[in-house]
Amino acid sequence: MTSTEPTLPSAASLRWERRRSSVSRFWKAYRTHRAGLYGLAGLALIALLALTAPLTVGADVQSVTQAPGTALESPSSEFPLGTDQFGRSLLGLLIWGARISLLVGLLAAALSVAIGTLVGIIAGHYGGWFSTVVMRITDWFLVMPTLVLAIVLATVMSRSMWTVVIAIGVTSWPTTARLVRAQTIAVESRPYIERATALGGGHGHVMSRHVLPNVMPLVLAQTTLGISTAILTEATLAFLGLGDPTVVSWGGMLQDAREAGAVSSGHWWYLAPPGIAIALVALAFTLCGRAVESVLNPKLGVSR
């Protein structure tokens, strides 16, 4: 109403434009990494399977009272991967289990990176004795045997999916924290930060509006790589009997297989598929992560 002249593009739309172009630039560079594309395709496929699981196999696949088969059947046309000790279809469980394994992997990696980013930015921004103390703690966490700590945490808390998420997240953040801190220090040495501070930008403003966007690429790469580690750790904890026994996950299936004595009775079809699934997903995330990383930081030399 107040202005009738042709509007200049608003700040928001400018930012939007800038982001879109940087995303397309990123994609153009990513496309040149063939391994990364394979990884992405694999992930898309698995994500599709996991998301459509309620339609394809249905939640009933978990039911023990309505299990269609008999115990530990070998693969057949009805059960392509055979059945477990309750007579449930292993193929169905494998697809259903993808949901939990992926969910736990994503959540745990997100938690870990969130903690790491927060600690890293704060330590890098404030500096001084505060930073020293925080980094001392980070270093201390860095030398803790991660798996041992995760086992202890999972033992302390009750068996549930969230326990596993927290156990992984809380123990694997220090690397991210160190990297983010280094990046924060680098970003804050740039002149425009000084300008922002001079213009009255507070700590919160600098950290959220200037530092955070600049460390985001690093955080993204870190998350992608973290997911594959988190999925492996989830399987490990479930295998050690520290997962939620009433929820179907890949690691849990391996644990079930072992407890049923599938190894010595030669039921390899029970044991092999969950392990292969874990390896494939972990591999896919690693490939994507490496590709993202070399796009963002070609100096690392992990090019194709």
Binding site: V64, L72, Q85, G241, D244, P245, S264, S265, G266
Partner: protein
């Protein structure tokens, strides 16, 4: 191969990594090269050794400290107890004592000690040793750690002569012919200083008077025993008995299939099914001595009357408990979870102990009937809300927790079924699996729990844990109680049976106790799991089960299985058919690696040589 000459080895830093590689290559070669020889060693010594796969660690080799099943089973083999249980029907038979008589007031027991039992160092085992053992346990609390419950009621123990042991009691005690206490040699043990620290595992062989003598022990690797040639009942037939550790059940079964071990206990149904089809292996599927149950929290309380814990209030209503138990299909559990290797649960004591076994009358019995369960809940005022959830008296949906042992696959499996059965009633269930359930358990912080006990031939103990007297004195103390059941009628019957020396009358009292326990509805006995175990018939020719007809081998009350086992005559000639294949499969990779290393070294040297020119 390329001829390599003239170039002396160089010592420039860049090659360090390469040499490291070479070294590890050699390690790899030595790793791969091994099997042939080692396998040959295995075959040679397999002759007359009986190897038993075990998984549970030894807590201590001192009979005063040991509490775990593996340890106590081994003590049964190494030390003779006063009495033993007959392999046939578990009645009391002579052990170190040949005869025993109570006084008229049932407060003084006189045991006659046999004169043909010798310690493995040659000294005779006498009443003096037995008296010393009991007196030690009565005077030194550290020595009472493991078996103090037997001597808590002892007033005085004396040995007037080497053949007579006299025990005076404070009040009558029903377990006087079932004193499962290893008697130790006084001349060895009186030198021990601190009983809480002495593990009896430094000097081998360990002096004992049982059918076997412990000769070697390596934590979590093996325990070795040799037969006691002078054992009064006759020496065992095998030349050596080895308990070998396999922390993983599958590894133990694989070892059995390969003949590395002779016996494996605690099989899963799948393992048993796979082993059944193999030659030279016999699967023993025997009625077990355990019951497997769901216990409800009856409102944990202490003897001072104070209640504690956070058990769900709705479970105090008998109707809720009845409905829950009516919705448990025990037949399905036996079929699916145990794959038929269990007997459907009824009374408290397993049918294996025939004289004490009791089953509910038709009027009492809670058979599987989900419709009836629904009706019971409805009649008691528990209605379903709009979302189909059953609502409690406080207006909140009914959601229970069940404590489960994370190490027990059966708990987790049954938990899944319970979730679905009770879910159909509109009742939620959270399966809380923990490595150690005892903490929430003793604090009373549970709604339901998976429960199970191994029952001894004398049922006194498993009955005692449901009496009011075993409740903790105050909420801070801990008591021997199983799940805080306290019922005056049950207690009265317990007191009667404890002093009843007439076996038939006592058995009748025990059955009435079980009936009462069933009616209180705090526990639902789901199954009596079978003992599933397997042994190699090409190593063990015969072995005594307990009970003799359809009994188990591992965890017997006596030492019958290992004492009676006889080796197969031709056990020593192992099959040699596989070994030549083995040799080739090993030599192949070794040769490959050697060639590779050779070629690689040659190339390296050649390039170095080029470089010098």
């Amino acid at each position: 191969m390329v001829m390599v000459t003239k170039v002396p080895p160089r010592h420039t830093p860049p090659h360090r990594a390469l040499r490291l590689l070479l070294a590890s290559g050699v390690t790899a070669v030595s790793l791969v090269a091994v099997p042939g020889t080692a396998a040959a060693e295995d075959d040679k010594s397999a002759g007359n050794t009986l190897t038993v796969a075990v998984s549970q660690s030894i807590d201590s080799l001192s009979p005063f400290l040991a509490q775990k099943l593996t340890s106590t089973s081994i003590h049964r083999l190494a030390y003779e107890y006063l009495t033993n249980y007959d392999a046939k029907d578990a009645r009391t038979v002579p052990g170190l004592a040949t005869a025993w008589t109570p006084s008229a007031d049932k407060l003084t027991w006189t045991y006659t000690i046999r004169d043909n039992s010798k310690w493995s160092d040659g000294k005779p085992a006498t009443a003096e040793d037995a008296a010393w053992t009991f007196n030690k346990m009565m005077t030194d609390p550290n020595a009472a750690t493991a078996n103090g419950s037997f001597t808590a009621n002892f007033a005085q123990v004396t040995a007037p002569d080497p053949k007579t042991l006299v025990i005076r009691l404070k009040k009558p005690q029903a377990t006087m012919t079932a004193l499962d206490v290893p008697i130790v040699p006084k001349h060895v043990w009186e030198k021990v200083g601190d009983f809480s620290k002495f593990n009896n595992d430094k000097q081998f062989p360990i002096v004992g008077n049982g059918p076997f003598v412990i000769t070697d022990f390596k934590v979590d690797q093996y325990i070795k025993l040799k037969p006691n040639k002078t054992f009064w009942r006759g020496a065992p037939k095998f030349d050596e008995l080895v308990f070998k550790y396999y922390k993983d059940g599958d590894a133990a079964v694989a070892a059995l299939q390969k003949g590395e071990v002779s016996f494996v206990p605690n099989l899963t149904p799948a393992q048993a099914a796979a082993l059944k089809t193999q030659k030279n292996i016999k699967v023993n599927d025997a009625p077990g001595r355990r019951f497997y149950a769901i216990a409800t929290n009856p409102g944990a309380k202490a003897q001072d009357g104070k209640t504690f814990g956070n058990g769900h209030k709705a479970l105090l209503d008998p109707a809720v408990r009845k409905a829950l138990f009516l919705a448990v299909d025990r037949t399905t559990l036996v079929d699916k979870v145990f794959q038929g290797h269990a007997v459907e649960g009824e009374g408290y004591i397993p049918p294996r102990f025939g004289s004490y076994f009791w089953k509910p009358s038709d009027a009492q019995k809670r058979s599987y009937d989900p419709t009836a369960a629904d009706k019971v809940l409805f009649a008691a005022g528990y209605r379903k809300n709009a979302e189909g959830k059953r609502v409690g008296k406080d207006g909140k949906p009914l959601d229970f927790r069940i404590l489960c042992h994370a190490t027990d696959p059966n708990d987790k499996a049954v938990g899944k079924y319970l979730q679905e059965w009770w879910g159909a009633l509109g009742i939620g269930l959270k399966v809380d699996c923990l490595d150690s359930v005892s903490d929430p358990w003793v604090k009373g912080d549970y709604d339901l729990a998976f429960d199970g006990w191994s029952v001894n031939p004398d049922p006194d103990y498993v009955l005692s844990i449901h009496t009011c007297g075993t409740l903790p004195a105050t909420p801070k103390d801990s008591g021997a109680t199983d799940n805080f059941i306290c019922d005056t009628e049950f207690d009265g019957l317990y007191a009667q049976q404890a002093v009843e020396y007439d076996t038939a009358k006592r058995a009748d009292l025990v059955k009435r106790m079980q009936s009462r326990l069933y009616d209180t509805g705090y526990m639902n006995i789901m199954a009596y799991p079978n003992a599933l175990e397997a042994y190699r018939t090409d190593q063990i020719a015969s072995i005594t089960t307990m009970p003799e007809a359809a009994g188990n081998l591992w965890g017997q009350d006596g030492y019958w299985s290992w004492w009676s086992a006889t080796p197969t005559a031709s056990a020593s000639d192992g099959d040699s058919s596989g070994s030549s294949t083995t040799v080739w499969l090993i030599l192949g990779p070794v040769a490959l690696v050697l060639v590779a290393v050779g070629v690689w070294t040659a190339r390296r040297r050649r390039t170095t040589a080029d470089d010098r020119e």
